[in-house]
């Protein structure tokens, strides 16, 4: 009897989906990873003829790779800092203060997601053209900053609203000042979610390709933009593979820290589900 029960509970659907998704999602990335550590891999052989890190040295010796890495890191840092500076106080205001037009203004941040993104970028580029912002660092900063607004306001608003008001009131009752309450009660509770939002916007900005390509290229060459030109014009396959592995590092860090926020339902609800 017991054996029959256990056999009936084999999760065939699960095995099917796990195998299929492993093949479709993990396999292509393993291929790229293999290429990055390959010195020689000519056509008919199923596995590389020679493994090695020869191309890591060659890729990292290229001036265009280094300048793109520095540019991408400084762009993402500037955009994330500016975004935190303007969005976090706004998020606190949306969560805790009342002011005229609060609801309408809160939902106005959805506007950027209600239009096809590249069309919007072209419309913005039309305005930047008149302001001479095309091909400049600050033009790209502005366009990427707008891309972070929704996340950097909506996720922290949810975080501030989730803070237990009774604890704040209790602290006030025993004589803590409003600033003290904010630092000792509100921030520690809202902190992890806000940190995840900041991390997501850093990583999102790091990978932002379309704005950088339309507004910045060819003067502003971020890492993803450089990757496009490697794919289009670079006959040495390994350069692209090494760059892919390098490019993926921030994503890996985000994966480690942000999984909790993303698997919780609030993330999908942010998209209107």
């Amino acid at each position: 009897m017991a054996r029959v029960l256990i056999e009936r509970r084999i999760d065939w659907y699960g095995i099917f989906f796990a195998a299929l998704l492993t093949l479709v999602i993990v396999f292509p990335l393993i291929v790229v990873g293999t290429w990055a550590f390959t010195n020689v891999w000519r056509f008919p052989s199923v596995i590389p003829q020679e493994f090695g890190i020869k191309y890591w040295q060659m890729t990292l010796a290229r001036a265009d790779v280094w300048s793109s890495i520095t540019l991408s890191l400084s762009l993402s840092t500037v955009v994330t800092l500016l975004s935190a500076l303007i969005c976090l106080p706004a998020a606190y205001a949306f969560a805790r203060l009342d002011f005229p037009g609060r609801n309408i203004l809160f939902f106005s941040f959805l506007a950027g997601h209600a239009f096809p993104k590249f069309g919007l970028l072209v419309a913005i580029a039309g305005i930047f053209l008149q302001l001479n912002l095309i091909g400049t660092f600050w033009g790209v900063v502005l366009i990427q900053l707008v891309g972070t607004l929704l996340f950097m306001i909506w996720i922290p608003v949810a975080a501030f609203q989730a803070v237990d008001r009774r604890m704040e009131e209790a602290a006030r009752d025993v004589g803590a000042s409003p600033m003290r309450v904010f630092w000792s009660i509100t921030l520690p509770q809202a902190g992890p979610t806000i940190a995840a939002a900041i991390l997501l916007s850093f990583v999102g900005t790091f990978y932002e390709t379309e704005g950088a390509w339309l507004i910045g290229a060819p003067q502003i060459r971020t890492l993803p933009v450089l990757m496009i030109s490697f794919i289009n014009n670079q006959p040495v396959i390994q350069f692209g593979a090494v760059l892919s592995v390098l490019l993926w590092v921030p994503s890996f860090i985000a994966l480690l820290f942000a999984r909790r926020v993303i698997s919780s339902g609030s993330f999908a609800r942010g998209f209107g589900a």
């Binding site: 999760d11 699960g14 989906f17 998704l21 492993t22 999602i25 292509p28 990335l29 291929v31 790229v32 008919p44 052989s45 303007i86 969005c87 706004a90 606190y92 205001a93 949306f94 969560a95 805790r96 203060l97 009342d98 002011f99 203004l105 939902f107 959805l110 950027g112 209600a114 239009f115 993104k117 590249f118 069309g119 919007l120 072209v122 419309a123 913005i124 580029a125 039309g126 305005i127 053209l129 909506w154 990978y207 390709t209 390509w213 339309l214 290229a217 990757m227 496009i228 794919i231 892919s244 993926w248 994503s251 890996f252 985000a254 999908a268 609800r269 942010g270 998209f271 209107g272 589900a273």
Partner: protein
Amino acid sequence: MSLTPANDIVGKNNGRGLTGLLLVAIPVFLVGWMIIWPIISAIGRTIWLPNEGGGRSFSLETYGFFFTDQYSLNNLGVTLWTTGVCAVLLVLICLPIALYLRFAKGRLAAYVQGLAIFPMFVPSIILSYAIIRVLGPNGTVDLLLNAMHLPKIRSPYLTPWGPVIGLVWDNIPLTVLILLSGLGNVSNQSIEAARDVGAGRLAVLWHIILPRISNSILVAVSFTVLGIFSAFTLPYVLGPAAPEMMGPFMQRTFRDLNDPTNAITQAVIAFCFCIVFGLFYVRSVAKNRSA
């Protein structure tokens, strides 16, 4: 996503209204200047064209050109085709995964969920590169087929199917998350009740589950359409040079042909095709908030 009703949180302090407005002023200004204004200006600039007299006058010339130019129409056609095929494929692929995840428990389900969300952490430029290495000419699939003495595949790279494969891959996580969140509203009791009166799996799916998640399916489709209609990176790298999708087409018109007026016309046309999905998306987020 919701805001706490204002009367719960407000002190009776009147000065707070101004403080609140000041705190939100910069992000709201950015939305106005970088989203609302470009859209209004885009429409204005494409229907008030410069005339010989040096001023501007009303004209639909650029729109007339787009809808009579066979090349533009082909690009629009391939964009609509790609968007439609991707939306259908995404629902067909993600609905079974979401259904499985809704009812399964344990480590295998956690693994499947982890994999389904994983593409969110793979930037589309790495994805493009991976697809070229795997499905491109002499890619890994060709290597494996060759080793088994089978003929090579007809590579989807640089055909309209290249962007389709990439865009579906890229959009799996959000579609699964949105559908899964919708399935969270289907109670176990309603399914058990239907089972008790003898409904089969398909009947439960058709009569109990699908009606309850139809809104989530529409949200997922809207999100997909908005994302794919003007996708740039994947079609630019993986797609054919002609016909090209609206994203690369707009980019080429704007930068390479240096013709912003026609590029913005193409953008406005893209807005018009997506307006229904955009409005539906905003409406369902707003409705979700009041629930």
